[in-house]
Amino acid sequence: MISRRTFAALVTSVALAPTLTLAQDAPAPFDKPGDVNIALVRYLSTGDFFQAYLSGVEKQAAALGVNLQVFDSRQDAALQADMVDQAIALGVDGIIIQHGLTESMKEAAQRAVDAGIKVVAFDVNVENPAIPQIEQSDRDLARLALEAAIADNGTEWVAGYVYVPGIAPLDRRDETWKAVKAANPGIQEVAMFGTLDNPIANSVANQARAVLSANPNIQVMFAPYDEFAKGVKIALDEAGMSGQVSIYSADISTADIALMREPGSAWKATAATNPAVVGEVSVRALAMLLASEDPGAQVIVPPTLITQKMLNDLDIKNMEELGAKLPAFAHADVAMTPWMKLPPR
């Protein structure tokens, strides 16, 4: 606590001191970034997405020069709340809450705010006006994928749809699908299926085989989750129908890139947000709060449309190359200020 007080005094003195530096130099406290401590408190951490998110957080924190401490509760909601308290006790300046449950995090987040700590939350609603929400826009993901489907196939096609209700991101993607269907009466959904039985791709492939033989007239499969798209692709390959049906999906990974680029692949396009960029945006939003700027109550990271043609034309083989060769995927122009230092690209 003493260190916090000393630090606050330092910040005030620096803020009051006449600035001799250039205009786009970092404002306090980022003129002395080595004294800034931030914490990332995670709920989910296993899997490609969360790995990439963490790397984004680490890179942006390093670019700013602040100290980052990572707390990983490994899907233990109570432990995650304890970890916020631990971060408060350590006297950090800012906290990023990554996922979690509203019920368990709401009060812990409020305690952090009461302690004068700046907090941002990614993909968890802690119901606190002082805490900006970082979100990847599932509606935009679905919209981009469907716009690509309409651009490729016109507005009249027979569709199969893969969906499992009750999963928040899929539900948000479903809202867009319903809206697009309502706006385009020529789109006819003849089958809806889906399952989360793992391995998901295998279970969805079994279902898709049945759907395709019952509805051989399907032209477009909308599978707004990459595991679904993978399953549908396996089924199309097995049924020898890859030439007749196009798959549009959401999310991307290195394995997905390989599947989209297979010769004659039915997987035409996917819309995705780069999890590493979401990580960077989380840190930038927190940095803006610390510098007494307002990132807004909602910071939405826009998705990018990635098509089979793009991947082939740019010869992209994995996620790193995707970030390097598709600038829109490597950087999102949100939570930006003139003084913000970005990770090297």
């Binding site: 809806m192 079994n206 049945a210 049924a239």
Partner: protein, 337 residues
């Protein structure tokens, strides 16, 4: 053969009649259901759970239970991907290493149960958790695919060998060109081998004897411990074979717990009790049980039934099959004795 009463007939042939009825109903509602292609993809959809179910049948015969098969299958999937994508070795090495892994897990399970006297459910439950964790350690929880970035910053350049992918994707000309996938052939071969082993060899009969009364079998001079270990080794090998086919179909190493594979194959083996009124684990029944679930699920999917109704119906079928086995066959069986 003193009686062929209606109950007796119902118990013996009830499930087969039900299956035939189901095929008729689905064919009327969706004519596409009754095509060679549709028959083949139903078989393909049950190939992996069918093989796992035959493995679990082997352990059920000696009155054991193997909860680790789902995890063995997904571990074999990760191992084969690791061998080919990261170590850049060939298809044969991958297959052999996976089968050895399955056999080793089965051996450890068997020794835990026989030598350490850990109850079967607990030993294999522990093994299940162990494997679910173990398969993630080499890749820090990531799925394995070509082009992935390794922990040391290199990019994995190995690919799934084409011969390996053939196991899940190659099709053999049968009636129509390119009709029957290799995985279905593997299922049929394994089913026949298991049936021959359990029904026609001395070893099979000995295993049934152990299952019905281990003490009596031991007194008759049978190496009970040896056969029980053998049952778990069979189960482990079959599960790893299922995992190989899974990897060949998906073409990558997917992090998965395999719990659904476990549950589906246990259901198939238990439904198998009811087929032909066997009232005991048997290879033919298990194969029919797997097929029954496959036909039901694919038919319902064709009719656009949502996934939760499918789980419900799967459960209902299992309950009915168990009633057949334990209430009806049990009664007739006792009367017969």
């Amino acid at each position: 053969m003193k009686s062929l009463s209606p109950t007796h007939l119902a118990i013996r042939y009830g499930f087969l009649v039900l299956m035939a009825g189901m095929i008729v109903v689905f064919s009327v509602l969706k004519p596409a259901f009754l095509s060679p292609q549709s028959a083949v993809f139903i078989l393909q959809s049950v190939a992996i759970t069918g093989i796992l179910a035959l493995g679990i049948t082997a352990t059920l015969v000696v009155d054991g239970f193997d909860l680790s098969i789902g995890a063995v299958a997904t571990s074999a999937m990760m191992l084969s991907a690791y061998v080919m994508v990261i170590w850049e070795m060939g298809a044969l090495t991958a297959v052999i290493l996976c089968l050895l892994m399955g056999a080793a897990v089965g051996l450890i399970n068997g020794l835990l149960i026989v030598k350490m006297r850990v109850p079967d459910l607990l030993a294999t439950l522990g093994m299940m958790f162990l494997l679910v964790g173990l398969q993630r350690i080499p890749t820090q929880g990531n799925s394995i695919s070509t082009g992935m970035v390794l922990a040391d910053g290199r990019t994995a350049t190995g690919t799934f060998a084409p011969e390996f992918l053939m196991l899940g994707r190659h099709r053999i000309d049968f009636i129509l060109p390119d009709l029957v996938p290799l995985s279905v052939v593997v299922l049929v071969v394994i089913a026949v081998l298991t049936w021959v082993f359990l029904e026609l060899t001395r070893h099979g009969r000995v295993m049934y004897a152990i299952g019905s009364n281990a003490q009596a079998a031991a007194l008759a001079g049978i190496n009970v411990a040896g056969y029980r270990v053998l049952a778990y080794v069979i189960s482990g090998v079959m599960a790893s074979l299922g995992g190989i086919l899974l990897a060949a179909r998906l073409g990558r190493g997917d992090v998965a717990s395999g719990n659904n594979l476990l549950l589906d194959s246990v259901a198939a083996a238990l439904i198998g009790f009811a087929v032909l009124g066997a009232a005991k684990p048997n290879a033919f029944g298990t194969a029919i049980g797997a097929l029954f679930v496959g036909i039901l699920l694919q038919g319902l999917t064709m009719l656009n039934a949502p996934y939760y109704t499918q789980d419900f119906i799967k459960g209902a079928v299992l309950v009915v099959a168990l009633v057949f086995t334990f209430a009806l066959s049990g009664r007739v069986g006792r009367a017969r004795r």
